[in-house]
């Protein structure tokens, strides 16, 4: 459909613009809000790929939970003064190299992955709840359970770290 093609371009533009604004914005609060906007645009992309479940979960987890905690932290820390965190030259150098290597790897991945046939997203039913659930609980049962145990361990660990002062 021609309509979804335009939607794709609009969403992509929003996603890239907002992602750039995350880096450019001077106020931390604006950065966080632009990051939220990026997540919404990516959620829109999931819907275009016919993966409603993934889209909604993406919004709930990232926009609804993680970003709210980010805003919470920014609000309470009051990071409004610019240049409060001067980074050492070594840190800047290291992060530039790390980022560069990541970019390099991504380019290599996309080069080796050549997409010959454009898949029609409406025929791909994997993102719907029923199919996703069946695959998760049949083919990927062990990894799924293991990752949930990992989450549980992380949660218990966070609570333990938070309670450290009591003992």
């Amino acid at each position: 459909m021609i309509f979804s093609k335009y939607l794709f371009f609009i969403l992509s533009f929003i996603a890239i613009y907002a992602a750039l604004k995350v880096l450019i914005s001077k106020k931390p609060m604006h950065s966080v809000l632009y990051l939220t906007l990026t997540f919404f645009a990516i959620g829109g992309h999931y819907i275009l790929l016919n993966a409603q479940f993934l889209a909604v979960v993406h919004i709930i987890v990232y926009a609804g939970a993680i970003m709210v905690l980010f805003i919470y932290t920014v609000m309470l820390l009051n990071l409004n003064i610019q240049g409060e965190f001067p980074k050492s030259r070594l840190a800047k150098f290291a992060s530039a190299i790390a980022g560069g290597i990541l970019l390099f790897t991504l380019i290599a991945v996309f080069r080796s992955y050549d997409l010959k046939v454009l898949a029609d997203p409406s025929l791909n039913q994997i993102g719907l709840v029923k199919n996703l659930g069946k695959i998760l609980f049949q083919d990927y049962y062990l990894p799924f359970e293991l990752s949930s145990i990992l989450f549980l361990a992380a949660m218990v660990g966070a609570v333990m770290l938070g309670k450290k002062d009591i003992y």
Binding site: K27, M29, H30, L33, T36, Q52, F53, V56, V57, I59, I60, A63, G64, A65, V68, L69, I71, Y72, M75, L76, L128, V129
Partner: protein, 343 residues
Amino acid sequence: MDGTYILYKFILASAILLISLLVAMYSTLLERKVAAFFQDRLGPNRAGIFGIFQPLADGLKLFFKEEFMPGDADKFLYILGPSLTMMIALLTSAVIPWGNSLVIGGAEYSLQVADVNVGVLYVFAILSIGVYGIMIGGWASNNKYALIGAVRAASQMISYELAMSMTIIAIVMMSGSLSLKDMVEQQHGMNWNVWYQPLGFLIFLVCAFAECNRSPFDLPECETELIGGYHTEYSSMKLGFYLFAEYINMFISSAMIATLFFGGYNFPFMDDLHLSHNVITIIGSLVFFVKIAFFVFFFMWVRWTLPRFRYDQLMRLGWKSLLPLAIVNMIITGLVIMIKHHL
């Protein structure tokens, strides 16, 4: 995807938007009348008969008030806050089934704007981003009372979202579908979820009060401690938007309670009436609105009856009572389903 279909959906969406706004408008009047009744007063009765033009008068008053913006406020976010609150409050109505379908000239028209197959999760998503408007507004005001109000709102909403989600998961397990339309269809006649999930209903109700920032959980705007909470620095129609969004949230929450636990547009003996499909649909929608009206009244009833909680009491109730209860409710539901499956 033809022209009439798009036109029909457009008309339906506009009608639902208008109805939501109208209901919210008259809830403000009802709130004042209910408060007056509880306090043995008359309530507003000057504008029109029984004060039916009072909401219009209130709206006009808010429009003509002075627009004020704090000097150090973040101007863009200060305006974004109330706008976002209003927008998010109106989003949920898209997936609520307001009635069964109407058959006109052989074509079937559903009275639901979008039957998304992840309907319940969509409601969760809207719920979880509902806090943005309050947080942005509270922070952008650059006022310590507003900031405390925003922080309170955020932690309160995150805490009560968990218990609320757990109760809905129990219902999803029972119905085996995430679509709100399917859930309502399964509660045909008197087969309402509230009979199977009384504990879940109770938890959901308490959480709905907390999510709407309604008394007895209206701590984000607690006037005895925080002046006005997150909207301390707001005036004119921006304040109006915050107050109005609360009434829309109340209406939508009541609709969700009626949909999930009280059978939506289903009513008892609907098969025994032997009326045509369209008539049943219209009666069903009216019954749905009666159910919603009852819960809107219930929200007000509680507000003018119970005193406000203290903040630590609120947190303790959310994390130490409601969340464990909701988890127990979920486990029991799962066990019963498993036993039924094996019998």
